[in-house]
Subunit: 357 residues, 2 copies
């Protein structure tokens, strides 16, 4: 069992007393940092960055050198699993991630199998081990995966940012085919996250980026059900430490109660919901992570500080809150504004933890 | 005072007894219809279609010739107001609507004034009168406008489909400038909708396409507040008839109670909320419009019918429901599936109105 120098994130995720509200930022290692762009240029492209543990380690640590963040998150892509399944991930300039072989034919779908992470995703596990060493237990490392439905969107559409015509046609017309893909994805994600945990990831986060595009009932059946399946198969302890899990469905504010009952330790919130209202709705069941609109970071320090105070006040006293943005940090964010944010959260939040520490 | 042959829509919006649940489709006059594409080709382009009352009338009536819909909706664009303000609306191939002169400088913003609809938007009012004549009172005509915030998104960004960087920077950094734009927009929309009502529109709908991109508190302050301002200035009666109003904020499911309290008669729902849950939340305050996922229309007749039954059952007995999609109909919809939808709603819904008629 290792002892972290700063375990505030883990404590907050488990609703244990903390001195201040911990913060990390979705996509904290990213294009808004000049040093990230420099490493990416050296690597050649985004995929080389993900697939080379040395580079992945370097960029994972960059934001921690700038800001006193309370966690590192593995630098990787949510589409490593379908890539390992042989769908041929590539990045087209200005188009985002795409697959050479979208998954639409019944024969290909039924032949789909979960990749062995120790084989095809070795580079991710190596990155996790190497990052853990480099972190030297200063803060915990978050491992992650895309949700089965979010992966399926890219796998069936062949790309992101669509109107989901292909996958929703499948969902309504051939639900059994989509269920097969989702079941294989859930097995793959479970094995992948467990392998990350064994390699040293101290938190497991599931990004359900596209679940919010579904109807109320389709969300339960085609997204949340498979997230539950993963959570029930996830290692809850490793190296003598409890491994908390976080589920983030963007646009999932209407379904918080169901997400909170899925078996996760924390629910990620986008910025459309008031966090105090979210806390009232889920009660003491889970911790909450979020939920500043990333656009606030385009404004001045006094505006950023005021918006931080609003969220912290709305959540109120006590543990169970991990501060974050409601979505990934924009590439257009001035890095000095990220510094203002982290400092504001650390300073202002202390008064909300006076009785609990 | 005129007597409509089919006033089911008006009765449902006012929660008066009906024999069946009325239905119309957002973007029902559109690219999924071959006859629409033919008229558009004759007109030359989309803007010419909007700006020529003969063409606008022709395409408005096309879906009614195919399907027994319970309403017509004025064929127009949500961006006619900023176009009339001089921002220079144009359509770029594959890019959607854009403005030649996005509104960002303080001087231009403070000089912004609401256009007189009788002057700059005469072509819309002429289309409304002409459509009313052509409809010959068979079904009511819905007039509409974009919401002040949605118009402002396009005006400030210069285009749709962005990540709202410009307008959100203004919102957080120079809120007084955005409030000025929104106030002028609210005045403009009020005058525009009242002019449509005087020209013959029998329902007024406000499309808040982008309000759902805001945080909880920003939505109240920068979108809903100005919708309320419009509603409080809207003519509630014309030609001896009550003019019902509908407010639709896409992605607004978390804020239904507030929208229902805005002074509108009906609230539009996208497909992410269960309509029965929405009815429980807003109580008897307003009617509800929605909320089938447009993607269901890619599936087969039996699937469409089953999904219609789900929504009708979830809403339950009694009046106060206008069936619609949760967003505009896709250009890829087979028209015969729209026919299946309309028939299913008309047939299946009768059993939910047995006691109320």
């Amino acid at each position: 069992m290792t002892t972290l120098k700063n375990d505030t994130l883990l404590r907050a995720l488990l609703k244990q007393p903390v001195d201040y509200t911990p913060i990390w930022l979705m996509r904290q290692a990213g294009r808004y940092l000049a040093e990230y762009n420099a490493t990416r240029a050296r690597a050649g492209d985004f995929l080389a960055l993900c697939k080379t543990p040395d580079f992945a380690t370097e960029v994972t640590l960059q934001p921690l050198a700038r800001f006193p963040l309370d966690a590192a998150i593995l630098f990787s892509d949510i589409l490593t699993i379908p890539d390992a399944m042989g769908l041929g991930l590539y990045f087209s300039q200005g188009e985002g991630p795409m697959f050479k072989h979208p998954l639409r034919g019944e024969k290909e779908i039924l032949a789909l199998t979960a990749p062995d992470p120790a084989d095809k995703l070795r580079y991710v596990l190596d990155a996790v081990s190497q990052i853990r060493k480099a972190l030297d237990n200063c803060v915990p490392l978050i491992g992650f995966s895309g949700s089965p439905f979010t992966l399926a969107c890219y796998m069936v559409e062949g790309r992101g940012g669509t109107e989901f015509r292909e996958i929703k046609t499948m969902l309504y017309q051939r639900p059994e085919l989509l269920h097969h893909i989702l079941d294989v994805n859930a097995q793959a994600v479970t094995a992948y996250l467990n392998a990350q945990i064994e390699s040293g990831a101290q938190v497991a986060m599931i990004f359900d980026t596209w679940g919010g595009a579904l109807s109320h009932s389709a969300y339960q059946e085609f997204s949340l059900h498979y997230i539950q399946q993963i959570l029930s198969g996830l290692k809850r302890e490793h190296d003598g430490q409890r491994i908390p899990s976080i589920v983030f469905t963007k646009g999932g504010g209407l379904w918080l109660e169901a997400i909170a009952a899925s078996g996760c330790d924390a629910v990620g919130l986008d910025w459309t919901i008031d966090i105090g209202e979210a806390r009232r709705r889920v009660g003491d069941k889970v911790a909450l992570q979020g939920n500043l609109d990333p656009s606030v970071l385009f404004a001045s320090p006094d505006v950023i500080t005021a918006e931080v105070e609003k969220i912290l006040s709305s959540f109120g006293n006590g543990s169970g809150h991990v501060f974050n943005l409601g979505h990934g940090i924009s590439q257009f964010t001035p890095p000095e504004n990220a510094a203002v944010l982290v400092e504001a959260v650390h300073n202002i939040s202390r008064k909300f933890h006076m009785t609990s520490s």
